[in-house]
Symmetry: C2
Subunit: 240 residues, 2 copies
DNA sequence: CGCATGCTTGATGGAGATCAACGAACGTGG
DNA sequence: CCACGTTCGTTGATCTCCATCAAGCATGCG
């Protein structure tokens, strides 16, 4: 049965039922889905295509340096469009699953055709990419100048926006940590030990509570936001 | 005459004469340029629009933390499409010029219309964004795990790809450093002192030569590439 | 049980931020 | 021409912080 399940093509591929995908015209949807396939991945597996939509789980673009240093340069969650096509550069980095994930794999040539013929799909692509850019610029700002402590606070807010973090309720300050510590570390550019210490420190300062290992409750959201935005620089002698 | 020059609208706006802009259909070009304006910026000035094309100079998305830390999250050079529109998030960061620059300012609503009506323009947008993503993922990988030494080597290769670095000749290993040290520092997430030290160290190791303050000649390109790709980790006690 | 994986805590050292100072280049204006 | 200011780049000394190394738990699984 597992074989039956994991064999792609047995399930009819569908688009996520939310913006911008549910707003596409019927002809566009059927055009796009005609060559699309459903795919299941477990942690560590690499996605087969450069263009796909995440239905569930978590994925990342992984890169490895010669001496083993590992970087997760982009995180993707349910609903995200992943478009790794580019015209100028060679392929750099692998798209891997960080946990059990579901993907809607799109055919690259068909995508090019569809965005060409359906202006609503082209708009959806451009809009999605705009959001991804905003996320990446946030992330770059984190990496470039923030302390590990601030990065941890920032990434918690990022997880807060993920679907399924707290049953879709925006008001709830309970956050599901959706990926492993090691992946958080490779994403925010520190070591897992530092991630652990940062979380524990936030807990000791009563900014967060940790009812379960993979769940965080934000006690003081404004304080956390301030920390995430740069409220905890490394201390200098002048201020002492 | 300067007044005459810097007054926008006096010059007929034109698109850059290279891919993907020179491949657009005439109707698309005229549609797009009808509401476009030419703009000159000097260092520090902020661009007026969220959508524009860089004709010359250098720009960056600048962000400032509460305690004064400054980050340049994205660099743009001649030929780049800058699209800071997004649907989900609030405006974060300013688009500023790092040196005297020329811009083709596009009207946001007109752009939305044009990408909707002209599929070749939509493709150009999607393609440009794909390239920007690749650059940003490279940059994230630099910031997340590389040493300042490696980051400096990496950013030199980035400058190597900028137009005008060496008279457009790809073979030439003479690189024009197009922005100030302080901007390099804020881009790669270190302090100007560290930038300076990294450059001098590369020079001392005979990997680069510095004929002029703002020009670098790569003596050993393969070695530099290896450093940029992670060949200079921070040393550990084990290997000693 | 043994073994693996994931998370945490502790001790140590090195790398880069910090602070300070200087030199070079570029304007001013007299 | 020089005195003067500013800006940019560089160099040196000191100190903080995070990576590193190591060890300890907890859990899951054969």
């Amino acid at each position: 049965m597992d074989v039956f399940q994991s064999c792609c093509c047995t399930e009819t591929p569908v688009l996520p039922d939310h913006a911008p995908w549910n707003g596409l015209s019927e002809s566009c949807k059927s055009d796009l889905l005609e060559t699309a396939t459903h795919s299941y991945l477990t942690r560590g597996e690499e996605a087969a295509s450069d263009v796909c939509i995440v239905l569930s789980g978590a994925l990342a673009v992984e890169r490895e340096l010669s001496d083993g240093r590992r970087v997760l340069s982009t995180l993707f969650h349910a609903g995200d469009l992943i478009d790794l096509r580019r015209s100028e550069r060679i392929r750099q980095g692998r798209l891997i699953a960080l946990k059990d994930s579901e993907l809607l794999i799109l055919d690259q040539e068909r995508v090019a055709l569809c965005t060409d013929q359906h202006s609503d799909l082209a708009s959806a692509f451009i809009g999605q990419q705009g959001n991804h850019f905003a996320r990446m610029r946030d992330h770059v700002a984190d990496l470039a100048s923030k302390t590990p402590f601030e990065r941890m606070a920032s990434v918690l807010f990022e997880f807060k926006r993920w679907p399924g973090s707290s049953g879709e309720k925006k008001e709830c300050n309970s956050i599901q940590i959706p990926i492993l510590r090691i992946d958080i570390a490779d994403y925010i550019g520190v070591k897992p030990e530092t991630v652990s210490r940062a979380i524990r420190k936030l807990e000791k300062e009563r900014r967060i509570a940790i009812p379960e290992p993979d769940r965080v409750f934000m006690i003081d959201v404004p304080a956390m936001r301030q920390i995430a935005n740069g409220g905890r620089p490394r201390q200098s002698r002048q201020h002492a």
